[in-house]
Amino acid sequence: MIVAICYTIDNSIAFFLPFDFSRQGIVIVPGIGLMAWTLINNIIEDDRRYLFATLVGLYYAVIYANSLFIYVLLYCLYAFFGRAYMKLSRFTLFEAMVVIGLTIFVQEIVIYWLMWITNVTAMSIVTFALYRLLPTFLFNVVLSIPLFYLHKKLGFEGKKNAY
């Protein structure tokens, strides 16, 4: 539910942000839903983690990404890394920013690679990095600050620090 609300916010931000379909300017992809998932991934029980990842990925793919099901696999991947490396850790602001930034970075790269190999785009890697990856990364890292405090205030953190 929380992630669905975050996706609605993402979609509304995307609707009102200037977006040039000719891709001759900066492209920003808001990722509040993904950030929320990254942060709450830690508090989901082990046996349900992948089910939630799959459901969230399916929801995003069907409603917002034209049924591109790579998102299901990506969300399962985030769940796997969350399980393997983060346990029930409590993030500091810096750690949260690093984890969120890395997740956004990985997602953008994987999707670009998929679009490239399926011939959907011939955008050069430099154009992609300068006009899409970097602005999206910076925009989302800045957005992650209020989201982190909101997440903390609402009490969605894990109970122990694994580190």
Binding site: F16, D20, N66, L73
Partner: protein
């Protein structure tokens, strides 16, 4: 105790099986590249409609109030310019009426019901676009109930922007001409001075920001700002004369034989809010 543990095991097994099936379904869908099912389109439309009327429309309304306030400041200057243009308007209107009468007489004489340049438009607003921005598609708020069909051209006041690729009852998906791998080529004609050259718009080059047209005829020297329009010959779009852009350069394709023309798009793609679906006379007569 045993009963509880059995129940828990069973529940875990159900979760595991549903997760694995959904992952397999997603992987197969990704590899096969299937079209969205009716259920998916219905879900997407419902969420998109709710979001539009609950969030986007109220926010747009408030934004529009501020925009209108700022626009009022420029009304005086605009009025002066428009008053000058109004003098010419009467002249153009009378010419237009005379030409329309001539057209009607010619139609009667030749027993033709409609010309390919005759069309009407249905206005729509952009309801949503994919967040990830890779698909060059937008969803508009008019669907098959409103008479929109697959293949119809979509335009803004500046020219053609795309065509309808899918419809549901209440919405339609518009594939933009800025798609780098178009599903259908658009038949076009280039008004190069006195001659008309035909070609197919099949590609948008993201690195140059121009359309690429494969020519079907030979072309001599390319005139400056030669207009490129739809030809209405072949394809699902039968309307002729929808502006696409201006020819900017001519060259040879990678095969070394075919000639290509690079076209500067006439439409701006950075603020797509309101669009018009082109209904050709043949669509209306049907």
């Amino acid at each position: 105790m045993n009963n509880n543990s059995d129940k828990q095991k069973k529940r875990k097994r159900v979760i595991l099986i549903s997760t694995i099936s959904m992952i397999i379904f997603s992987t197969v869908s990704l590899l096969v590249g299937r079209n969205p099912m009716r259920m998916e389109v219905m879900l997407r439309d419902s969420v998109s409609l709710v979001e539009y009327y609950l969030i986007k429309k109220p926010v747009s309304f408030v934004g529009d109030i501020f925009n209108q306030y700022y626009a009022l400041r420029g009304v005086y200057e605009e009025n002066a310019i428009l008053r000058e243009k109004l003098d010419n308007y009467t002249l153009i209107e009378s010419q237009n009426r005379a030409l329309s009468d001539d057209f009607d007489k010619l139609k009667e004489l030749t027993d033709i019901d409609y010309f390919k340049t005759d069309y009407k438009v249905k206005y729509a607003y952009v309801q949503s676009r994919p967040i990830d921005g890779w698909n060059q598609e937008v969803v508009i708020n008019v669907g098959s109930v409103g008479g929109v069909e697959v293949g119809m051209a979509v335009m803004t006041s500046q020219g053609m922007i795309g065509f309808v690729t899918a419809t549901s009852e209440l919405s339609a998906t518009v594939s933009l001409l800025t798609h780098e791998r178009m599903i259908n080529s658009v038949p076009v004609q280039i008004h190069n001075g006195e001659e008309i050259v035909y070609g197919l718009l099949d590609h948008y080059d993201v690195n140059t920001g121009r359309y690429e047209i494969t020519l079907l005829d030979n072309i001599g020297a390319l005139e400056n700002d030669a207009l490129v329009m739809t030809s209405g010959l072949g394809g699902s779009n039968e309307t002729q004369g929808l502006l696409i852009g201006t020819a900017a350069d001519v060259g040879t394709k990678e095969d070394g034989i075919t000639t290509k023309v690079l076209v500067e798009p006439s439409a701006q793609f950075n603020d797509l809010r309101y669009v018009a679906v082109v209904l050709s006379e043949s669509d209306i007569n049907e």
